[in-house]
Each structure stands twice: as structure tokens, then as C-alpha cells.
Assembly symmetry: C2
Homo-oligomer: 221 residues x 2
């Protein structure tokens, strides 16, 4: 009576002990598991065994899909970056065509889930901590961050163009740097102490910054 309940009796053995999957899909599962481990236990929980357990596979499988741990982490970092950038890029076109509304949509997306989640930001911080000593992370950062800054630059440029003839001469490069810094800094602050201010206040601060940028030629000299 040791018949497995899943299948009648056509095969001698019960249901398969594991399911084979396409490399691409398994790779993605391992990447997701890596990020999940990072969220739950930070840098400490970033071990091959913990990742394998989180993904529900055996330890050895990771090295079948990734040559080593660093490559897995770099792949996870790449995916994490692209999810953020693509998410923000997707949020912008949903807004009205007005450059002002587009920026607001961008800010709203930046300061709401899943981007503002403390766990999410904690993952970023761990990646940043690896940055200086991991050439792989550096390479992924270069290729990903570029898209983010460009997106922000484009929005600022359109905003400036729409401001019309009274538009002051703004250093677009510096403006993008400043807005990015303000954004990232508010992210970081909120992560370290979510009680200190509300997301809406962060959005207001960023909008006020842009308003002041357009109102007057910033004294950047």
C-alpha cells in the first residue's frame, strides 16, 4: 500500500524527486533567492548554502549555473539595478505628458514601494559596501547607473525646455548630480530611521529643489 497519491501506478517510482528547469529560469530563481537572503539577513546571510536553501535546491547546483559566488552576486546586483531603473522608467509614461507631472510620477515611484522599503535599501547598502573591492560590482554599476542618471537628466532637460524663455541657464550636469544626491540621501536617511520623516515629505523636498532650480539661476559659482 505504499502507492504514492500523486500518480496512479503507471510508473514504478513515485513523483520525481526534483524538477529539471531551463538554465535561464533556474538562474533567475537563484538570483531572486540571493536578493531575498540579502533582505532577510544582510551581508551575513549571503552564503551559498543559505541561497541554495532559499531557492529550494541543493548546494552544488549554484556552481553549475554560476562559475563562482562573485558572479552570482554580480548577476543579482545587475538584476536589482535593472528592476529599479525599469520600474521607474515604466512609472513615468503613465503620468500626463507635462514634464512637471512626469517628474512627480518619477518621484512618487522612487519614494514608494517597493523602492522605499527599508529591506530594499538595505540591499543597496550591502552592494555599495562591496563596490570598492569588487571589480565585477564596479562594472555592473557603471553599466546600470548610466541609465538611471540619463533618465533623470532627460526629465530635467524637458522640464527646463518647458519653462520657456524665462528659463535660467542651468548646468544640467550639476543639476542632475544634485537631484540624484538629494534623492539618494533621503532614501538612505529614511532607511536608517523611517520614523524621522514621511515619504510625502521627501517628495516635497525634491520638488521644492527642482522648483528653486527653475525659479532662479542657481548661484553655482
Amino acid at each position: 500500500m505504499a502507492v504514492n497519491a500523486a500518480r496512479p501506478a503507471a510508473r514504478p517510482a513515485a513523483r520525481p524527486r526534483y524538477e529539471r528547469q531551463l538554465p535561464e529560469q533556474r538562474r533567475q530563481e537563484l538570483i531572486d533567492a540571493t536578493i531575498e537572503c540579502l533582505k532577510r539577513h544582510g551581508h551575513e546571510g549571503l552564503s551559498m548554502r543559505a541561497i541554495a536553501a532559499q531557492a529550494g535546491v541543493s548546494l552544488g547546483l549554484i556552481n553549475h549555473h554560476f562559475p563562482n559566488k562573485d558572479e552570482l552576486i554580480a548577476a543579482a546586483y545587475r538584476h536589482f539595478n535593472s528592476v529599479l531603473v525599469e520600474g521607474l522608467k515604466a512609472a513615468v509614461p503613465k503620468a500626463p505628458a507635462s514634464p512637471r507631472a512626469r517628474l512627480q510620477a518619477f518621484l512618487r515611484a522612487s519614494f514608494s514601494r517597493p523602492n522605499l522599503d527599508p529591506e530594499t535599501l538595505a540591499v543597496w547598502v550591502v552592494f555599495w559596501g562591496m563596490y570598492r573591492h569588487s571589480p565585477l560590482i564596479q562594472g555592473v554599476h557603471r553599466e546600470s547607473y548610466q541609465g538611471y542618471v540619463q533618465l533623470l537628466k532627460d526629465m530635467l532637460a524637458q522640464l527646463l525646455k518647458a519653462a520657456g524663455p524665462r528659463a535660467p541657464a542651468v548646468d544640467l550636469r550639476l543639476a542632475a548630480i544634485g537631484l540624484t544626491a538629494l534623492l539618494d540621501g533621503l532614501w538612505l536617511e529614511w532607511c536608517l530611521e523611517p520614523a524621522s520623516f514621511r515619504p510625502a515629505e521627501a517628495i516635497a523636498l525634491c520638488e521644492a529643489w527642482v522648483d528653486n532650480l527653475l525659479r532662479r539661476p542657481a548661484t553655482l559659482e
Copy 2:
């Protein structure tokens, strides 16, 4: 002829194999070694053996002065915080009494060595990465960060007071949050990519932010 060259012959043994030190001094040496290891090798190089080697002592000595690794790291974090805050506090009084000049001195100190050193910022990021999962780090952060924010708040308050009767009604709390975020964000950006802008530009961005704060009531609603 096996006479040691250091001492004539008054004692049978050569010079002492190690030097005893007061607990307080040895503790400080271990804390310095911890930070040095963090600078050189990041989170990876943060092992008891690496720290002991950096300090020039044996492995076991650490556990004689610190109950465990976490306490050592927390002590290093506390020291790192206090050096920053005290350094900034010391830079302010050297400037002219004008609130504007005091803020400028503060910004100059923030965006110059040793605070702006990429290694220094990398150390911060590693500490931040531990924050969420280490109650010890959280405790140290609370007790240290408070002084930093208070220093910044005081400067903004004096700046506002000096602006005179035309001073707009500024939410001091939000202003401090915003300036802190801009500062930290620029720190972070410069650390990840020092070539993207010059420290002087970061200072200019912060000053422009404060200028705009005083010029007009920020539309924070």
C-alpha cells in the same frame, strides 16, 4: 656569542618579547586597526586575525579587551562617528562669527579630507550595511547621529535668525533633513565615482540649497 645587541648583559634575557600597555590604550589601538582593515579590504577583511595582525598583537588579545567581535565593531563605529562629529564641530568655530561663514566652514570640512576620502566613505557604507541586523550598531548610531543632526540644526537656526525680518517661515526639521540628505547623497555619489564632480561643486550645491531656502518660503505643501 649569542648576546643580544640591544642590551649589554645585565639581564639574562634579551629585550622583552612584547610590551604591556594600559587597557585603554590597547583598546584604542585595536579600534584603529579595525578601521584600517575596513579601509583596506572592506567587509571581507574584517576578521579577528586580520585585525590582530594589523594591530601587531596576537589573536587572543582581542577577546581580552572586547567580549566578542560585535562589541569591537560597535566600538569602532562609535569612534568613527565621534571623530567625524568632533572634527566638524572643531572646524566651525575657526570660521568668522557669521552664520553664513560658519556653515561654509562646515561644508568645507565635510567635503575635504579626511571625511571625503573614498576609503572613509567606504567604511561608512560597510557600517550602514550592518545597521539593520545589528542592535549594537543601531544603538551607537542613535547616540552619535543625534549630535550630527543637532549641529546642523543649530547652524540652520542661526542662519535663519540672521536672515532678519524677511526670513520666511521654514520648517527647521525638514530643512535639516533635506540638507543632511543632500550632503550624504553627494558624499555617496562622489565615493562611488570621484571623477563625476569636484568637491567644490558639491559645496556649491549645498550652499545654493541653503540660499534658496532663505530666499523664498519653500513650497513644501
